[in-house]
């Protein structure tokens, strides 16, 4: 986290111009990783002097799904899982807009998984920031598509027996042109990756491993939010451009972080525009 002055006076805090001030305080638990990610996103906007008028922040449903309501840009809170489909509509209808999807692991990869893989396949220009807290926070901490082997949640009380998705590998295999993973501890590196992704055209994906001290990390006896962050420091290794298939997340051994994919590919709305232009000249 960036250092926060004790008292925030208007105009003083560097990211305040990018935040809906009248929506503070936010709804997130203390030591939740979501705040850190939103802070990183706002810092990235600030350091790029990003054109806020063209930004549309979109999210699905969940704790993370509330993210879209905190930025001083256009924002839309869709139904559960549909943020990417909405963002596709936005980008195709008005290619001057820049959609950013901020949503949870369950929202983006369980109920919304189909939209994720197809938007990545088409290479629709958008940034997708996924906060992976290994569970469904908003509904009380149930297991989901990223819940690790044996982990305890309220719907896997005897230990999870499902095989989790490796999100960066799903993203890379689906065709994303930029794929990165950080933990909530890597606030500065995360901010840099967001900056990089915001300047790149195509489907970009950043996963942020994030504590949910109220539910997931409590059920699994990971200690306080701070303990979880310490664990992230111990476990994470940075391996840029490692094969995303091999970028494991194992709370017992290591969490592989870094920027894994950074490539170029024709973008969907550019291709649509090019085709339309030729057709209109006929």
């Amino acid at each position: 986290m960036t250092t926060t002055p004790k008292t925030i006076t208007e105009g003083e805090h560097p990211i305040l111009d990018y935040i809906r001030r009248d929506r503070l305080p936010h709804i997130f638990c203390s030591a939740c990783g979501i705040g850190t990610v939103l802070n990183a996103f706002a810092n990235a906007l600030r350091s790029l002097n990003y054109d806020i008028d063209r930004l549309v922040v979109i999210s699905g449903i969940g704790c993370t799904g509330r993210a879209s309501g905190y930025f001083a840009a256009d924002g839309y809170h869709t139904t559960h899982g549909r943020a990417i489909a909405f963002a596709s509509g936005v980008k195709v209808a008005n290619p001057d807009l820049n959609p950013v999807v901020i949503s949870g692991d369950g929202d983006l990869f369980a109920i919304g998984g189909n939209h994720f893989i197809h938007a990545a396949r088409r290479n629709v220009d958008m940034l997708v920031l996924c906060i992976n807290n290994f569970n469904y926070g908003m509904t009380g901490g149930q297991m989901g598509p990223t819940t690790p082997d044996s982990a305890i949640t309220v719907t896997s009380p005897d230990g999870n027996i499902e095989h989790p998705f490796n999100l960066v590998s799903v993203a890379a295999a689906s065709g994303a042109v930029f794929v990165a993973r950080w933990t909530a501890l890597h606030a500065r590196r995360l901010t840099k990756s967001i900056e990089k992704a915001l300047q790149k055209k195509g489907f970009k994906f950043i996963e942020v491993i994030s504590p949910c001290p109220t539910l997931y990390d409590r059920y699994n006896r990971h200690g306080s939010g701070l303990d979880v962050m310490k664990k992230y420091r111990e476990l994470s290794v940075i391996r840029n451009f490692t094969d995303p298939m091999k970028a494991e997340i194992d709370y017992r051994t290591r969490i592989v972080c870094g920027e894994f994919v950074d490539t170029e590919k024709p973008e969907f709305t550019d291709l649509l525009a090019k085709q339309a232009e030729t057709l209109q000249q006929r």
Partner: protein
Amino acid sequence: MQKAVLTGEIFTQGDIAAAEGALAAGCRFFAGYPITPATEIAERMAYRLPRIGGRYIQMEDEIASCTAVVGASYSGVKSMTATSGPGVSLMNETIGLAVMTETPMVLVNVMRGGPSTGQPTEASQSDIMQAKWGSHGDYEIIALIPSSVQEMFDLTIKAFNLSEQFRVPTFVLADEIIGHMRERLVIPPEDEIKIVNRKKPTVPPEEYLPFKADADLVPPMATFGEGYHFYATGLTHDERGYPVMDDAAQLALVPRLCDKIRKNVDKITEAELTETEDAEVLVVAYGGEARTAMRAVKDARAKGMKIGLFRPITVWPFPKEQLKIAASNAQHVLVAELNYGQLVGEVERVIRHEIPVHLIPRVCGSPHSPDELMKEIRRRID
């Protein structure tokens, strides 16, 4: 560049007419997923939109299609999708979102036989209630039912106009008969087509409250990228668009969403009354079945029977007052529909058991012939 409005006379199919009506109304975005008997609309849009500066996208399913349409509409582009019953079933959650965030958009449902996969290539009118009640919660939508290829065109334009005026998702509820029928379509000159656009905010961004309604109960709509920096959510929200979970917020929002339609019923509803003034027998029919009914009524009139036809063109909200007028001399009301009894309930609600209301259902994919229908009528009134 091709013209958006293909003024002139063509011999074409109902589905094509719906696509051309949408383009004439200013639709420039279509997201869809193929399904019989609505696929021709998507095919036409895929061909036409890029040629007139619009955009077509085939999504991975109907949930995505409907959601992309909401996103496109919020980005300032008139948008629509087209599907059949199974697709609408998937879209229903998003239709609720569109209602909650007051999104102008048009959905064409070319109805086929259900439940489930049912009879994909056969005609049906069994999604009448789905259109009204398919999503959860209290809400109102608008639905129009065309009875000809010409009406596929005209009512699709009207659907766009109503959806823009009231910021509400609007259905064109066609049946397979009309969707796949081929007949003459007259497309008027562009400047003779009435177009309604959503109200835009007249205040600067600092003063804009995205969900504060005017006297007509409809809030002006900013779109993404205009600098208003607004937020919209499917959660219950206040005038700022911010989520609020108390009773007052729900009370201020949900009744208004319903009332902007209920209190404007006279501005929305349309029905066609044929030979109803002295009609002792009133037939109620719509869509493809109304064509059969029209023939049957005209034949019976020629033989001296005092019979008339009430054809709702707007089915939601239901044209109550028009039905009351049509039924003022009726001793029998007969509802002929291509389902096992749906709109008949609404007719009964209006008639209130003052006179008998009979259902003439048909669930088998083809409409009645006029003679069959007349026999069914006779069987019930003699």
